[in-house]
Structure formats: structure tokens, C-alpha cells
Symmetry: C2
Subunit: 270 residues, 2 copies
């Protein structure tokens, strides 16, 4: 197990939680008291982080929500805040990057050198060499899209390739061939519980990052039942349900209670 997976694993055991809080700041949904404030997004995320860290094994900012608004500096500050105040709780930068090798080197620089994220999400469509600039960083985590949580995920991912669906072929390549540094996990949506179950049966030692509970309608309890493993790792990610639990001045408390309720459901699996 590499240092990223070790850190997150220890955090999970201490707090009895699989919960990853997704940090997706949409300006249209910010709580009312923050509207028009100069540091609205940073203050919002800082308060959410402080309110939910006790129940979370990691945080996962989604880079598009910062890039759309030109908030790169805020993203930098958010990651630095977590690293400084909560060094036990790593940061996965959700970026789903993929490009030819020379360009992926630049994306890896963006994610790991500029933003100093502990892990990243990437897309496998272009093959192993396109992801090597990420996976060669032994102390970082790399989550490769396998079976995603969106409605159209199966359009290509479920196509039969050599008698098995593409997502299975991707999982096998990634975990059996690419994972020489033991730093790669898979993204598997909670909206696809049967696929999650089948992947867990085939890969008991793998790490799965599971988005799609809450707003995307994935069943959290089922995701834990199917996704947990003694030998492997499981991370359950929730963004909107936690972030936008409240709209008024008590929003952080509402987010805290939502995260706490999710962790309550999780702790019996430890």
C-alpha cells in the first residue's frame, strides 16, 4: 500500500468512515449569507471542511467548479487549508484528465506540483502511456474511471469486449498490468451496484472511489455492502447532498449533521 492509501486507510479506521466530501462550489447554490462576499467560495468551503472533517476520510474538490469561475487561487487556498489544518485527511483532485504523454506530464504538474493534491482522477480512454505521468508518482494516488455514475455510463463502458464489458477490461488492465506502484484505484459509481459487486469479487485488494450517492440516487448502504473489503479500500463520495444541506446562516451545521448521519450509517461496517 502506498503512502496515500496508507494515510487514508488510517484516517478511515480512526474515524470509522468511508466518507469523502466533494467540494463542488456552484455560485448559484451558495448559502444566502455568503452572496456577494469577496471570499464567498473560500469561506463557504472552509466552513464546510471544518464542519465535516470529523466524519470524513478525505476531501475531493472538483476542478471544473473553480476553473469555470477563474477561481484557481481559491482552489489553491482550499487545498492548502486542508493540508495545514487536517494533515491526516488527504485531498483528491477530481479532474478526470487524459492526454498524450507529453501533455499528461503538464496535467500531472498542474495537479501534483501546482495544486499539491494527494491524488487525482483520470480517464483511461487513451491507454497506459497517457496516464503514466500520473501513475509514476509513487507517493500519489490515481483513480482511473472504470464504471462511472452518470446515466449514459454504460453506452461504451458496458459494451462487450472479449466476452466481458469494457469497464471490466479497463479494470483488469489497470489493476493487473498498470498498477506497478500500487497507487492506482478505480472510480465505480454507486448507481451501478451490480457492477460494483462484480468488480469487488474480482478485485478484493483494490481501492474503489465510489461517487453517485445522494443527488445522483445511488444507494449508500448497498454501495458499502458491495464495495467494502478487508483487503482493499472503499471511499464513498458525496458532494451536493452535504454541501447544499442548508441555504441560510446555519448551513455549516446542516452540512455537519448530514455528514454525521452518513458516518453513522458507515460506522457499523468497521
Amino acid at each position: 500500500m502506498n503512502s496515500f492509501f496508507k494515510l487514508i486507510s488510517e484516517n478511515q479506521k480512526t474515524k470509522k468512515t468511508f466518507l469523502c466530501v466533494g467540494l463542488d462550489p456552484n455560485l448559484n447554490f451558495l448559502p444566502k449569507p455568503l452572496t456577494g462576499q469577496p471570499e464567498a467560495v473560500f469561506d463557504f468551503l472552509k466552513n464546510i471542511i471544518d464542519a465535516t472533517e470529523e466524519f470524513s476520510c478525505c476531501f475531493k474538490p472538483q476542478i471544473a467548479y473553480f476553473a469555470a469561475y477563474g477561481l484557481e487561487d481559491t482552489l489553491l487556498k482550499v487545498i492548502e487549508y486542508v493540508h495545514t489544518k487536517y494533515p491526516q485527511t488527504p485531498v483528491i483532485l477530481d479532474a478526470k484528465r487524459n492526454d498524450i504523454g507529453t501533455t499528461s506530464e503538464m496535467y500531472a504538474m498542474e495537479v501534483f506540483s501546482r495544486y499539491k493534491a494527494d491524488a487525482v482522477t483520470v480517464n483511461p480512454y487513451m491507454g497506459q502511456d497517457s496516464l503514466e505521468p500520473f501513475t509514476k508518482q509513487k507517493d500519489k494516488g490515481v483513480f482511473v474511471l472504470c464504471r462511472t455514475s452518470n446515466p449514459g455510463a454504460g453506452e461504451f463502458q458496458s459494451l462487450k469486449t472479449n466476452e466481458k464489458p469494457l469497464y471490466k477490461t479497463v479494470a483488469q488492465k489497470v489493476l493487473n498490468t498498470w498498477n506497478v506502484n500500487n497507487n492506482i484505484g478505480l472510480v465505480v459509481g454507486a448507481t451501478a451496484p451490480e457492477e460494483l459487486k462484480s468488480l469487488r469479487e474480482e478485485f478484493p485488494e483494490a481501492w474503489f472511489l465510489v461517487p453517485g450517492v445522494g443527488a445522483q440516487s445511488g444507494d449508500m448502504n448497498l454501495a458499502i455492502q458491495y464495495g467494502k473489503s478487508e483487503k482493499g479500500g472503499l471511499i464513498i463520495s458525496s458532494s451536493r447532498t452535504i454541501l447544499y444541506a442548508g441555504k441560510n446562516s446555519d448551513y455549516a451545521d446542516k452540512s455537519r449533521k448530514t455528514a454525521q448521519a452518513m458516518q453513522e450509517e458507515m460506522k457499523c461496517f468497521f
Copy 2:
């Protein structure tokens, strides 16, 4: 044909060129006179643009080369510079984005609202709904990765799905089903000439963005022979070969001559 494809098509006919100059500023390769200059990247790209526009149908900045260095403002300035000085020559932002719908909305905002790009590259792995935020913008161009130019491209893209390789299934879905606004093209690497030929035979009306000539060893002449079409469109992209043709104070002139030589090869196909 949508307004983006129409613009690029007119520019191609006027200049007798398929050439797209890729703008991938690597700080390690900048010409010597620019080293340490405060606006080195913008000045470099401005001079490259001015030197090569006469032979180019479009420009294609790759966003990772700006994001790695925190040069978002430079990217904004570069795109604005092209739009203001050369309105006949559109800008494709090479970003290869892909995510669930709500997040892709933010990526589309990044590409089209923030940077005001005329077109974008995207990754199809997550299916139609993941790209709809891009493709619904009728006046923009969207190039979907099909058969990429990197060495490991075939690892998944050439897997047999329903008796045909995955990249063919992607092409068919994208062009026959998703392309309701006639604004989608495919990315097909010049390093895969047989696949390019086969795709052109099946899709004579489609637009292909073809990277991989030059530093990636794709054969430009073959790419044009196999990729050109009376009814469809072809864009041949070259980055490093043009950008880094010179290292000294005459770098822009060297880039110009390289672009001109490529256009000389292209013009006989018009």
C-alpha cells in the same frame, strides 16, 4: 454545417491550408531571447501566431501547458489576441474534458464562456449525457476523441466491440446519433493512417481533427490523402515542429518557414 465549421472551411479555402498550429508553451523549450522575460509565454505565442497565421486555418492552444504554470490569464490573452486580430481564424481549446452532466456544464462554461474558445476537444468514455453540455452549444465545434495519436491508443480503442473496434463504435455513435446540431467532429491521429482511411470511407461528410504529424511521427501527406474529402472537413494539427523550429532571435521566422513548407505541401490538394 454550423457556424464554426463554416468559418474554418472558408479560411481553409482562402488560404489553401489544412494546418492548425498547436500552441503548447513549454517553459523549458522557449527561445533563448525570451528566457526570464515577464511576458515570455504571451510574447512567444503572439509572435508565433503572427508568423504562422497566413498559413493556418485555426489555432489550438492546449490548456494543460497553461494550467501547469498558472498561466490562465495568458491563455485568455492569447485567445483574445487571435479573435481580435484574426477573426477569420478560429480557436480550438484542446482540453479533452469529460465528466457527469452537472460538472460538464462547468467545463463548458470554462471553455466557452470564460475562454471564449470556438471549439473544444472532449473524451467520450462517459457517454452522450456527459458531453451534451458541450454539444448543445450550436455555434461551437466539439471534437470527440476517436482514435488518438499516442503509442498506447489502441489498448482500448482497438478492442473489438460488436465485431468492430471501439473507436469505430465511438465514431458511429457520435456521428450518427449525437450529432443533432451538426457541430461534432472526431479526433483521429495521423499516426493511425489505416484507421483514418477507414473512418473517412465510412464518414465522407465528417470533420476530422488530425494531430500527430511532426514530433509524433505521423505522415502528413498520407494523412491528407486518407483524410481529405469533398463533402467533409480535415484539420491537420502540428505543435512542437512549428513552435520550436528555432531557439534564437529568429525563432518566429523559423516557425513561419516551417508552417509555410507544410502549407506548400497542402495547397496542391485544393
